[in-house]
Symmetry: C2
Subunit: 348 residues, 2 copies
C-alpha cells in the first residue's frame, strides 16, 4: 500500500518533531508493505515574513490530492497571535472540511498523571470535537473600534449540518467501541447554539438506542475529568469547549508530550498533529519531545487502514516509556532525534 | 452595624444550605456588633410552576434597597434547563450590574485536592470573572429552526465598557493583594472579542506598571491549573471561560463543598453564593454540605466591611475541617444542620 503524505512542519519545534514522525514512518517501510511518498509544503512564519503569504493557493489545491497530511505545530512569536493559526492550521481544517477532531485521552502509566490514585484504566476517554464551526467560524465584527463605546462581537455559529454530522459520528464511534456517549455543552446559558446541540443529540440518539448516553455541562465536565475521569468514555462537544477540555485531558494523561489530534474528513483529506504547540522557547535545541508527533503518525497510519502497523508504533512508544528512553520533559536523557532512533530500533 | 440582607434560597439543596449560612450570621449577631435583617424573596421552581413567574418585578425593585443578597442554588429538574438560571440567577447578576464575579480558589488541606503533591501554598489563586456580557448576553437567534438547514447563532458580545471595568478591577485587586495578574483568553482564535480583551489588558496595564502580568490561552490555563497551579495568582477572564475554569478550580481546591462566588457591583447590590448547584438528587435528605453557603456568608460579611467577623467564620470552618466535623461528602458524619451548629458553637 502506497500513500502520498503531505507534510506541514509549521514553526518552533514543529519541524524537529515532525522529522521524527517521518523517520518512524520511513522505518515502517522496511518492516511492512506500507510505502510513503512525502512532500513538504512551504508555509510557516519564515515563509510568511519573507513572502507575506501564509500558504499558497496552489499548495491548498495540491494538498487535496494527498492521502493524508501530517503537521508539526503552528505559532511563532514574531507573528501576531492568530495569524498563523487562522491562516494555516484553521484554514486547512476548514477548507478540507475536517469536521471531526478526534482526541484520545489515555494514560499510559500512573506516574505521568498529576492526579492522585488514577490508573490507566481510569483515564481512558476520547473527545469528539466539532472542528469546522462554532466560535471558530471567525464571524463577527467591531463597532466604534478603539473608542470607549467599542462593541466587539464574536459569533458562535452552529448549523444543523455541522452539529448533526459530528454527533452522528460520535454515536457511531460509541457503538463501534462499545462505549457510552456524553454530550458536553452549556445549554443552560447558550439558549440558541446549544439548544441545537441538545435537539440533535436527542434526535440522532433515536437511531442509536443501544448507546448509553448522558449530558454534562462543560463546567461540571472539567470537574468530572479531575475527580472521576473513570466515568467518562466518549465525549462529543463543540469546537471551543473541545479545545479546552482536550488540553486539560492532555495534561491529565501525562502532558502535551504524548497527546495527539486527528482532524478528520471521513470522505476527504485528514490531517494528524500533536496537540502541543510550537514551543518557540525550546526550538532548535534538540530537546523537544517527539512522541506526540510519532503517535500522530501512528494515528494517521491507523486511519489509512493499517491498524497493525499503528499498533506497532504505539508498542514501540510504550517500550520507550518502560525503559525510560525519553526526553528531558519526561525525565529522560535522550535528544529529540535519539528518541526517534530508539523508536525505530524497536520497530526493526 | 445593621445590614438588610436579601435571601434567595433557590431550589434543591439551596434552601437547606442557605439556612445554615443564616444560622451562622444570626450567631454572629450575639458575638459582634453586627446585626442583620433578613428577608426572603419568593422565587424558584415551585413558585414558577405555581405562578408562571420566575421572580416578581416588585421583588426586583425591592432587592435594590438591600445591602447585599445571599443565594442558595438554582436549578430544578422539573423546569427546562436554563429557565431558572437565566430567569433568576443571571437576571439578578445582569439587572444589578454585578459585573465582577470574584472566585477564590484556595486549598485548605492537601488531602482534599485530587492533585498529587500540591499543598495549600500551591493552590491559592483568585479568578476575576466578567459577569455581565460575553456569551452570557443571551443574544442570538435561529434561522430555519427545526429543519436540516437550521442555523443557530449565539453572540459573544463584549464592550469596552464591560471589559475595561473588569480588567481595571483585576489590576486594582492585584495591586492591593500584591499579586501577579494573568489574562486568560483565546485571542488566537477569537479575533474580535478577545482582540478587545488584549487591547484593554495592555492599555489599562499602563496605569499599573507595578503589577507583573502575563497572558495564558484558556486551553493552556486549564493545563497550568492541574500541573503548576502555584504559578497562578490573580486571573482575569471572560464570563464563559471564567465559568469553566472556576469549576475546575473548585474541584482542585477540594470540591464544590467549599467553593464560593461573589457577584459584585462595587457601587450597588452584590450577591454571594456557593459555586455548587442545587443537587436535586440529595435535596431534603439533610446531607448537603453547608460549608460553601457558610463561606459565602463570610465573603458577604467581608465585603460589607466586617473583615474580622469574616475571618472568625472562616476560622470556624477550618476548625470543622481539622476536627473532621463534616458532612458525608467530605467523609464526615454530620448532617447539614449539625455542621451549621458546630460552626456556631465555635463562634461562641
Ligand atoms: C492553535 C489553535 C488555533 C488550536 C485550536 O484552538 O484549535 C489548538 O489549540 C488546538 O487545540 O489544536
Ligand atoms: C447556573 C449557571 C447559569 C451558572 C453560570 O454559568 O454562571 C453557574 O455555573 C455559575 O458558575 O455560577
Amino acid at each position: 500500500m502506497k500513500f502520498d503524505i503531505a507534510l506541514i512542519p509549521g514553526d518552533g519545534i514543529g519541524p524537529e518533531v515532525l522529522d521524527e514522525g517521518v523517520k518512524v514512518l520511513e522505518k515502517l517501510q522496511h518492516t511492512s508493505d506500507l510505502s510513503f511518498n512525502f512532500q513538504e509544503f512551504p508555509q510557516g512564519a519564515d515563509h510568511y515574513l519573507d513572502t507575506g503569504e501564509l500558504i499558497a493557493d496552489e499548495s491548498m489545491d495540491e494538498l487535496g490530492e494527498f492521502d493524508a497530511a501530517l503537521m508539526g505545530a503552528v505559532g511563532d512569536p514574531r507573528v501576531k497571535p492568530g495569524v498563523l493559526e487562522r491562516g494555516i492550521l484553521l484554514k486547512i481544517r476548514f477548507s478540507f472540511d475536517q469536521y471531526i477532531n478526534l482526541r484520545p485521552i489515555r494514560l499510559r502509566d500512573s506516574k505521568y498523571t498529576p492526579l492522585k490514585n488514577k490508573s490507566p484504566e481510569d483515564i481512558d476517554m476520547v473527545v469528539v470535537r466539532e472542528n469546522t464551526e462554532g466560535l471558530y467560524a471567525n464571524s463577527g465584527g467591531f463597532l466604534r473600534k478603539g473608542t470607549c463605546e467599542e462593541v466587539a462581537i464574536q459569533e458562535m455559529v452552529n448549523t444543523y449540518h455541522g452539529v448533526s454530522r459530528v454527533i452522528r459520528y460520535a454515536y457511531e464511534y460509541a457503538v463501534e467501541s462499545g462505549r457510552n456517549l456524553t454530550l458536553c455543552d452549556k445549554c443552560n446559558v447558550l439558549g440558541y447554539a446549544h439548544d441545537l446541540w441538545q435537539r440533535c443529540f436527542q434526535d440522532i440518539g433515536e437511531d442509536f438506542l443501544e448507546v448509553k448516553k448522558d449530558h454534562v455541562l462543560v463546567d461540571a465536565l472539567t470537574m468530572k475529568m479531575v475527580r472521576n475521569p473513570e466515568e467518562l468514555d466518549v465525549v462529543v462537544t463543540s469546537n471551543m469547549f473541545g479545545d479546552i477540555i482536550t488540553d486539560l485531558g492532555a495534561e491529565l494523561q501525562g502532558g502535551m508530550g504524548m497527546a495527539v489530534s486527528a482532524n478528520i474528513n471521513p470522505e476527504g483529506l485528514s490531517m494528524f498533529e500533536p496537540v502541543h504547540g510550537s514551543a518557540p522557547d525550546i526550538a532548535g535545541k534538540g530537546i523537544a519531545n517527539p512522541l506526540a508527533a510519532v503517535l500522530a503518525a501512528a494515528f494517521m497510519v491507523e486511519e489509512l487502514g493499517a491498524e497493525k502497523e499503528a499498533a506497532k508504533i504505539r508498542a514501540a512508544v510504550d517500550r520507550a516509556l518502560e525503559e525510560q528512553q525519553l526526553t528531558a520533559d519526561m525525565e529522560g536523557e535522550l535528544t529529540t532525534s535519539e528518541l526517534g532512533d530508539f523508536i525505530c530500533s524497536i520497530l526493526e
